[in-house]
Every structure is written in structure tokens, then in C-alpha cells.
């Protein structure tokens, strides 16, 4: 049964990496700036999921802190970029 778990973790890792590649496609080709910000936000989320899955893969709880930090920094950076898009400056 351990082989099944290893295989499914590999499959999920492959799916999330493919999702990150698609987000990168939208980040490069996005016609407007808000498309790029949205793609970057999804990329942060996929990175957090990747850290969580690596935690399951290596059986270590350290990756949880990395995932929490990635979620926090992704939220703050996306809010800052959205503010910048709306007003032209981050702190008014």
C-alpha cells in the first residue's frame, strides 16, 4: 500500500506542476495586467500546495511552516499588486 501512496503523490505533484506551467503561460501571455496578477496569485497557491505535498512525500512537518509562509506572503503581495493596479500607488 505504500507503493500506491508514493504513486498518487507523484501523480498529484505532476498535476500541480502542470497547473503551475499553465499559470506561467497566462502570466507571460496575459493581455492585461490584472490577468497577470491573477496568474501570479494562482501560482502562489500552487506553490503552497506543492510544499504541502512534499511534506507528505518526505513525511516531515517542517514543510507545513513553509506552506503557511507561502500563503501569507502570497496574500500580502497579491493585495499590494491589486491596490497598485487600482490606484497607481500602494500606500496612500
Amino acid at each position: 500500500m505504500s507503493a500506491l501512496l508514493t504513486l498518487s503523490i507523484a501523480f498529484a505533484l505532476f498535476c500541480v506542476v502542470c497547473a503551475m506551467l499553465l499559470c506561467m503561460l497566462r502570466l507571460i501571455a496575459g493581455p492585461s495586467a490584472q490577468d497577470r496578477v491573477l496568474a501570479l496569485d494562482t501560482l502562489w497557491m500552487c506553490g503552497m500546495l506543492l510544499a504541502l505535498m512534499l511534506g507528505i512525500r518526505f513525511g516531515s512537518l517542517i514543510y507545513f511552516e513553509a506552506a503557511l509562509l507561502i500563503a501569507l506572503i502570497g496574500f500580502v503581495s497579491t493585495i499590494a499588486l491589486a491596490k497598485f493596479l487600482m490606484r497607481g500607488e500602494v500606500i496612500e
Binding site: M1, S2, L4, L5, T6, L7, S8, I9, F11, A12, L13, F14, C15, V16, C18, A19, M20, L22, C23, L25, R26, S32, A33, Q34, D35, V37, L38, A39, D41, T42, M45, C46, M48, L49, L52, M53, G55, I56, F58, G59, L61, F64, A67, L68, A71, L72, F75, T78, I79, A82, K83, L85, M86
Partner: protein, 130 residues
């Protein structure tokens, strides 16, 4: 070699199912981000990634570490609560920024074709017929 050899069979099956569900739904969300036409349609793609994709993988992580360490490990709920609080804020701010930018550029969001889903409420009707 493998760190998860001591897991019972049903637990490995359940964790695998949750992982596969989460991975597939994450992929579907990113595919929606790439393939949908309009920005206002495209913003719905990552929502599926944030809710069900992240939920599946967080549930798998919680179940795996709970069974592995023989105690309740629920600190993934911290990430879940954080995501569920911040995702609507992020979506609303990006959407408002997009609407403001489109309005400032003087560009209509809808092109007036029948498949397009969104119109501004102050857009007059006769300008839509062309």
C-alpha cells in the same frame, strides 16, 4: 527507503484518493485560467483551485500526519482558515481593480455579442445594438 511504510491500507487509499482529487482539481482550475476568453470569466478558474483543490490536499495532509503520529494533527486547519478568509478579499480586490481599469480606459467589458455575460448597469441599451 519510503517514509510511509507503516500506514494501514485503508488510510493509504483514503490519502491517495484525496491527493488525486486535489491534484486533478488544481489542474482543472489552472486550465480554466488559460482557456477562458474574458478576464471576468477567467477569475472563476482559480476559485476552484483555492477551494476544492487546496481542500483535498490539506485534508490528505491532515489525515496522513494524524495516522502517522497517532495523535490529532490539525494544524493544517490554520492554512484552511487563512485561505478561506483571504480568498474572497483577493478576488474582490482584483475584480475591482479590473473594473476600474476598464472604466478608466473607456472600454466596455462586454462586446455586445450574445454569449458575453457581463454588462455595466449604466451602459445604455441602444449602444449595444450594432
Amino acid at each position: 527507503m519510503s517514509p510511509h511504510a507503516d500506514l494501514p491500507a485503508w488510510a493509504a487509499l483514503l490519502v491517495s484518493l484525496l491527493l488525486i482529487l486535489g491534484g486533478l482539481i488544481t489542474l482543472v482550475g489552472a486550465l480554466g485560467l488559460v482557456r477562458l476568453k474574458n478576464f471576468y470569466q477567467r477569475i472563476h478558474g482559480p476559485a476552484i483551485t483555492i477551494t476544492l483543490g487546496a481542500g483535498g490536499i490539506l485534508g490528505a495532509s491532515m489525515l496522513y500526519f494524524t495516522l502517522r503520529q497517532d495523535r490529532l494533527v490539525v494544524h493544517e486547519l490554520l492554512i484552511t482558515a487563512f485561505i478561506f478568509m483571504t480568498a474572497p478579499v483577493v478576488a474582490m480586490l482584483i475584480m475591482r481593480a479590473a473594473v476600474y481599469r476598464d472604466l478608466r480606459a473607456g472600454r466596455s467589458v462586454s462586446s455586445g455579442r450574445p454569449g458575453d455575460p457581463y454588462r455595466f448597469p449604466d451602459e445604455s441599451v441602444d449602444t449595444q445594438k450594432d
